[in-house]
């Protein structure tokens, strides 16, 4: 059991590290979501600000 766990985890880690090491495209691909997340956050903030501005224009109070 112990050996199995150690071997499987080591193999997964090795595979991931090799992919990271050997492929710049893999690195870029796997890092892309963190930029996507930030862009989404900005879009939602902008949309929220925009909708509130519109609401303010309709109702200055």
């Amino acid at each position: 059991m112990m050996n199995l766990i150690v071997i499987v985890i080591s193999a997964i880690m090795l595979g991931l590290l090799l992919a990271w090491w050997l492929s710049p495209a893999f690195r870029a691909w796997i890092e892309a979501p963190k930029h996507f997340m930030l862009r989404q956050e900005r879009r939602f903030d902008d949309a929220a600000s925009g909708s509130r501005s519109q609401a303010k224009q309709r109702d200055p109070e």
Binding site: M1, M2, A28, W29, I30, F44, A47, S51, R52
Partner: protein, 912 residues
């Protein structure tokens, strides 16, 4: 309420970034509802927790009603935190973040309100109500009854549609790590929760415990942890406006968590009957888990470069930061706790309770609070009071730090006492102050949570989405985003890898059967084989009354203070008897092994305490054990300890059945005396079940009975030393004996009303040292008097000295007796000698089958008044009957005189 923007048409397959279009709608109404529900249930849950903690110091507090008893409040405390507080907080966060990460709205607003209703009005509220009413499961993190559990499963199925489906529809290749955690957590919990709830009802004892262990850990590791980490991974970059340090490392962390966390569960049952291969596998997985968390936390903290100012100024981010640090500490603590050299000492102690509070408050709750505060500032129409929020943070941080430190030390103190031979109650006494401090530490925590709530409903109304100054100053990182996107386009792996959501789905589905196969099903098969091979053919099942008692035992939460698993450790074996074997639990549906010891293990309760002691103890534990913190159960009685209801009798029957199978099976194969010593050598974990039968089922230190090894304890002869012993004995007597024998030793303690035979009036007889030594060493079979041989010899000697000091010389005989001593001798021979023996040595022909044994007048010398009283009234609860109607007053007086002539051992008499 939703924002008025249309749904997005965004679709990104194979890395082709297209226009993101308009933002999808966000269900702000549902967010507010879940936030509100989370805070209401949080305050109630914490109140339950404070009540539970208070009862450690004041066990009678609110102790008269079943629905307010410790066990049921404890169930509602943990389930309230689990479902009410964290569940609602996570759901609120999902509604906020899923549209952002999936770029699609959640499936349906109507479904959302239905889910809200299910979660709060079919799970939390009915769960609390049913548990308070006595309908529950004695399964950790699955205490709500099965009918409620069914709604939990339904809710998770609905969550798949509501939150996972948008990801599947979006088919994003750029699935951010928070999305992975949300999908994986929902899928895994949907599968694991029903297994953790149902299987222990279908698979008994040790085999069921293997499944329970997995769910205990999955509840924290694959429900709480993924969702909390998802919040941390979102709030940090969303606040700083900087991308996380490495999405690659975050994904490595995700995969490791979902691979190794499910394999951790059996580390709750180290040194148990579960096969050692499974135990060691869980320990290795626990070590990997620690490494994984180092990776995750490093990545999260590296995501705050140059943003330490933001973390100190932005209170929501500070909450998350504190939670992340706690995550590191608690995870490393958890890994170390699983290691056998550590586990053997701290398992079952308050150390683990401190650990779980650090996990559920320090890690999960702080991050959830940070997530709520973060999103609250970004949804329309809310108020936000930063000053209050700041106070909330510090109150929580201070309260939690105090609580965890206190419980950690308390656990170490308990562990130390448990390693010794001191009576169990000494460990309770040793941590009394720590329990009081723990209760007090709950007050700032409660205040912090209340202030958090207030901070969301007071302060200025937010009219603009908050983007902190620091965030504005931070680069929008547009260049990095575009670079990343461009590079990603070049990465043309096959479609299966680009469909990240499918892989996340697979993580949840695939690791689920793997963990249960490896740590529950395969070990279960091995256990089933062993049980078939070892279990006695004639192993008795529980009677109907015992079965009902078992349900009451579970209902009242007894398993949360008393284990029913003696581990293969010298300290356990020395104190409780032979290690629990799988076959002993073959009829236990569900298992009641327990994971905590406030009271002693109950696996060997059979023949340990008499019926009257058990009933008195259940009615009010402090009637027989002065410093006990066990709750009273007066609702199992009709007004007094000797009037149990049917439920009281059922619970009694169950308690007295524990360990019966082992004792009646003749499983012991070696003499007791020698086996006790071999058992204490060290851990006993031989492969052969027969070898494990070496230690006795119950240590003779607990069961009492005649023992050749009983020392004769003579008090000091020097008056100064004797006085010191008497003083010391008085304190020991007050702590350990006065509950039954009364503060003055007259046998009129609180327990005396319901004990039969009544506790001895120690003032009404003079006892030989041999007699007192024997009773203290062996107890009195057939009575509630237990053996006290766990106490050090000097303590026993002090007790002997003190009991001697209680004796009051009676006045000389006041009645002229016409019956001669010779006639009295004949009377004694005819009426008394069959039990007391010809010479009054308590060794008559009938004595061997009487319990308690007849008095040996050589060693116990009742006063004349006492002897007269016994002849008139007998001794209820013993074979001594009243002789008032059968002997005249003259004859009885003569017998008293004759009995008094027997006092003293032959040696003493010859010395005279």
């Amino acid at each position: 309420m939703t924002n008025p923007v249309e749904r997005s048409a965004y679709r990104n397959e194979r890395g082709n970034t297209q226009s993101l279009g308009a933002v999808p709608s966000v269900e702000y109404g549902l967010i507010r509802a879940h936030v509100f529900a989370s805070l209401v249930t949080l305050v109630f849950s914490v109140l339950f927790g404070i009540l539970v903690a208070t009862k450690f110091t004041f066990p009678e507090f609110l102790g008269g009603r079943g629905w307010l008893t410790w066990g049921r409040l404890r169930y509602n405390h943990t389930q309230g935190i689990f479902f009410g507080w964290l569940g609602n907080a996570f759901l609120a966060f999902f509604y906020y973040v899923v549209p952002r990460l999936a770029n699609r709205p959640v499936l349906s607003r109507k479904l959302g309100w239905f889910l809200f209703g299910i979660w709060n009005f079919a799970v939390v509220l009915p769960g609390w109500t049913l548990v308070a009413a006595g309908f529950s499961q004695p399964l950790e993190w699955a205490e709500f009854p099965l009918v409620v559990a069914a709604f939990v499963v339904l809710a998770f199925i609905l969550m798949v549609f509501q939150f996972v489906l948008p990801f599947l529809k979006a088919r994003l290749s750029e699935l951010y790590v928070s999305g992975w955690y949300i999908i994986g957590g929902i899928i895994f919990t949907m599968l694991a929760y029903p297994v953790g709830n149902l299987v222990p009802w279908l698979v008994p004892g040790a085999r069921g415990a293997a499944f329970s262990g997995l769910w205990i850990h999955d509840a924290v590791g694959l429900y709480v942890t993924p969702f909390a980490v998802a919040i941390a991974y979102y709030v940090i970059p969303a606040t700083t406006r900087l991308p996380i340090s490495s999405h690659f490392l975050s994904m490595v962390g995700f995969w490791l968590l979902f691979f190794v966390y499910p394999l951790n569960g059996t580390h709750h049952y180290v040194y148990s009957a579960i096969p050692m291969a499974a135990q060691k596998g869980a320990i290795v997985a626990s070590a990997y888990q620690g490494m994984d968390v180092i990776l995750v936390v490093t990545n999260l903290l590296l995501s705050l470069p140059g943003s330490s100012g933001t973390a100190s100024k932005d209170v929501p981010l500070r909450f998350v930061w504190f939670g992340v640090v706690s995550y590191l500490v608690v995870s490393l603590q958890g890994s170390v706790q699983a290691f056998m050299p550590v586990n053997r000492f701290i398992h079952f102690t308050d150390f683990v309770i401190g650990h779980s509070h650090l996990a559920m408050i320090g890690f999960a709750s702080f991050i959830a609070l940070g997530g709520i505060a973060h999103l609250w500032q970004r949804i329309p129409g809310t108020r936000y009071n930063e000053r209050m929020m700041n106070w909330s943070f510090w109150l929580l941080a201070v309260g939690l730090t105090l609580m965890v430190t206190d419980l950690t030390i308390a656990g170490l103190v308990e562990a130390q006492v448990w390693q010794s031979s001191a009576p169990w109650i000494d460990s309770v006494r040793a941590v009394g102050t720590y329990w009081l401090v723990r209760t007090l530490s709950g007050l700032p925590i409660l205040a912090g949570f209340v202030l958090f709530w207030i901070s969301l409903v007071t302060g200025p109304r937010l009219s603009e989405a908050i983007v902190s100054e620091t965030s504005r100053m931070a680069s929008e990182d547009k260049a990095a985003f575009e670079d990343g996107s461009a590079a990603a386009h070049e990465f043309t792996l096959t479609g299966w890898l680009s469909n990240a959501h499918v892989i996340a789905f697979g993580a949840g589905v695939g690791f689920f059967p793997l963990s249960f196969l490896v740590l529950a099903i395969l070990p279960g098969k091995e256990l089933a084989h062993e049980i078939q091979r070892v279990a006695p053919v004639t192993m008795p099942t529980l009677t109907a009354s015992e079965q009902r008692g078992r349900v009451i035992y579970g209902r009242e939460g007894c398993a949360y203070c008393h284990t029913q698993q003696i581990r293969s450790l010298a300290a356990d074996v020395r104190r409780f008897g032979a290690p629990t074997e799988a076959w002993e639990t073959k009829y236990d549906y569900p298992q009641l092994w327990g994971t905590r010891r406030i009271g002693p293990d109950l696996s060997r309760e059979f023949n340990l305490h008499p019926r009257d002691w058990q009933l008195t103890h259940l009615y009010n534990p402090r009637f027989v054990v002065r410093d006990s913190v066990m709750p009273p159960y007066p609702w199992l009685f009709s007004g007094s300890a000797n009037q149990p209801t049917q439920e009281g009798l059922d619970l009694l029957a169950y308690l007295q059945s524990l360990g019966r199978a082992r004792q009646l099976s003749g499983f012991e194969r070696q003499p007791l005396a020698s086996s006790v010593h071999t058992a204490t050598a060290d851990m006993a974990m031989p492969k052969e079940a027969s070898a494990r039968a070496t230690p006795p089922s119950v240590p003779i230190a607990m069961t009492g009975g005649y023992s050749d090894s009983a020392p004769v304890l003579h008090p000091a002869s020097n008056p100064g030393d004797l006085q010191e012993e008497v003083s010391r004995g008085a304190a020991l007597f007050a702590a350990n004996c006065a509950s039954c024998h009364g503060s003055t030793g007259r046998g009129d303690g609180k327990a005396s009303a319901s004990l039969l035979p009544k506790p001895a009036n120690l003032t009404a007889a003079r006892f030989a040292d041999e007699r007192l030594s024997s009773v203290l060493w062996n107890g009195i079979t057939g009575s509630a008097m237990p053996p006290w041989r766990q106490l050090p010899a000097e303590d026993l000697r002090a007790l002997v000295a003190y009991i001697h000091s209680l004796h009051v010389e009676s006045a000389p005989p006041s009645t002229q007796v016409s019956t001669t001593l010779g006639q009295a001798k004949s009377l004694f021979a005819a009426a008394c000698a069959s039990c007391h023996g010809d010479a009054g040595g308590g060794n008559g022909p009938a004595a061997g089958v009487l319990a308690p044994a007849p008095t040996n007048f050589h060693l116990k010398k009742p006063t004349e008044e006492r002897a007269w009283e016994v002849l008139e009234n007998g001794v209820p609860g013993t074979a001594m009957v009243p002789w008032q109607s059968q002997l005249s007053a003259d004859q009885r007086h003569a017998l008293v005189e004759f009995v008094r002539s027997l006092y003293g051992t032959p040696q003493e008499k010859s010395g005279q």
